[in-house]
Subunit: 279 residues, 2 copies
DNA sequence: CGGCAAATTGACCACAATCAATCGAAGTGG
DNA sequence: CCACTTCGATTGATTGTGGTCAATTTGCCG
């Protein structure tokens, strides 16, 4: 159903290949190499570490199904989640360059995971320019998401921050085609959400109640359901440009129109730039 | 004067090449190619944008001298600094893969900058495996720093956060050899520090006064001076492992020893992992 | 000297952390 | 089938870190 036109007369490729294919045109050889590399799939139950802080990296992982996250354990015992991995995401594909992991990767739900030797990753990148490009793309997007989170934690209020995260996850899930309509459920606990947004789990609870009273989200069986996505986006100031979902450079600008305040600020900065050098 | 021993019978290589050389052994051909690529240097004054949010990326930039930063302008007109670029740093070397910049790069001080066409970056990576490796390394470190900042903004108190940032900058500057002893000055304003740490500039001022009263930093001519680095590191819980400065995988672990609290937490998690599946 | 940006200080207060208790649901063992 | 445990969710009370507003001072540069 999802993107049938992209793979007309072919068995459905796995989500990793599909995702890369959205970023760079993959040849049959590319796809075949990727199929082969991700052929060995293991099932991992929820709440297991795929790799832990301090380990030397040994394999690259591809999440083919389920949710996982990248997190850090702090010296004081608290946990900070710095990224979510959804089906189709690779993690730390080039981490072998570094000596040791400074974060852990853990599953949030039961997952299907392909473990690829780094040697294979290297070969794929070396012999398949389009795969190379697609891999870079995904690393850059990861970094852009990290930047957006950093900005959010520093600037946004707790409820906007949570709402923004919910929007981001929806857009990402939509992009790989694993959710259909305007709502989805997120199988994570409030404590995990707290470790994501950098707020206390108590406050997460209050924030969610607020969002519920605004009819923006709902909760069933321990998992969130988004109701009014558009309003949620507006509420949180979500602009999807940093996810770089659009394929071509030629399309229209995705930058959110600046508010009047921002415009005047920008003008001041630019004027200053001409005069005295402020940006 | 700086590190004459590293390049005995050779004209001083620029800091970019030096930095890459710390991460992967560069051949003479590698160095020559890099020299050539970074030959065209332009001087840029302080507080200019090298590239702005919304632009399509056109060149990769190498900062050869001076300080710059990556920042985002938010719709409400505020600014958030998400990375600092110091001499030897490249920025967005592979950004050509993306359609548009979602952040700006601006100088903080007068800078010497080399602009490299993306085509050249691509060729360097394609024909020089060691450069390829070193480039990946620097991107991964960028990402690790971003993660550490994210954790810090979410979890650390304002003074720890600022102190941590000061430690990080010192270690980075030390690593490229542009500072000598145990102190250095940082030519940024308190407002810039505020936009970095995600706190108000008023509070930055109070934090700095606190650090001054603790004899950890000092201020002269609008630039900070760190006094007691070791104590500053202890104060902020700074552990340099995420900067991945050590070259070899075989060296001793750099992971900060966990506190007792953290150990018991970790044990709980691991025990849980065996039993019920918590991490 | 005048103009401007950065730094500083004080007063006030709000958002969110912390502490502490309770509740609810799911799973477990008797 | 029912106690018991455990984890997650919920609620209230209290505290405090850091934001906002506003005024003043310092330092820089023309």
């Amino acid at each position: 159903m999802a993107f049938p036109s992209l793979l007309p007369n072919r068995q459905m490729a796995n989500l990793f290949i599909k995702k890369l294919g959205l970023r760079a045109p993959l040849s049959d050889a590319d796809r075949q190499a990727l199929e082969q590399a991700t052929a060995k799939v293991v099932q991992v139950e929820a709440h297991r570490d795929l790799i832990s802080q301090g380990d030397a990296p040994e394999h690259a992982f591809i999440i083919l199904d389920g949710f996982a996250c990248r997190y850090k354990l702090l010296p004081d015992g608290s946990r900070s989640i710095v990224a979510y991995l959804i089906p189709g995401d690779g993690c730390d594909l080039h981490a072998s360059i570094l000596n040791q992991m400074v974060h852990s990767i853990g599953t949030l739900t039961p997952c299907s995971v392909a473990a690829i030797p780094y040697r294979t990753v290297k070969e794929l990148a070396a012999y398949h320019p389009n795969i190379y490009k697609a891999l870079w793309w995904s690393v850059l997007v990861d970094e852009a998401i990290l930047q957006e989170w950093l900005v959010g934690v520093g600037r946004r209020s707790a409820d906007k921050q949570v709402a923004h995260f919910l929007c981001e996850m929806m857009v990402r899930l939509e992009a790989v085609g694993i959710i259909r309509g305007n709502s989805y459920k997120l199988p994570i606990t409030q404590s995990e959400l707290a470790d994501t947004a950098g707020i206390s789990h108590v406050h997460v609870n209050r924030v969610l109640q607020n969002l519920k009273s605004l009819r923006l989200v709902d909760q069933k069986w321990r998992s969130l359901v988004l109701l009014d996505i558009e309003e949620l986006k507006r509420f949180s100031g979500f602009a999807p440009d940093y996810l770089h979902l659009r394929p071509s450079r030629t399309e229209e600008s995705l930058i959110e129109p600046l508010t009047d305040v921002a415009k005047s600020q920008l003008q001041m900065r630019q004027r200053g730039q001409r005069d005295k050098g402020m940006f």
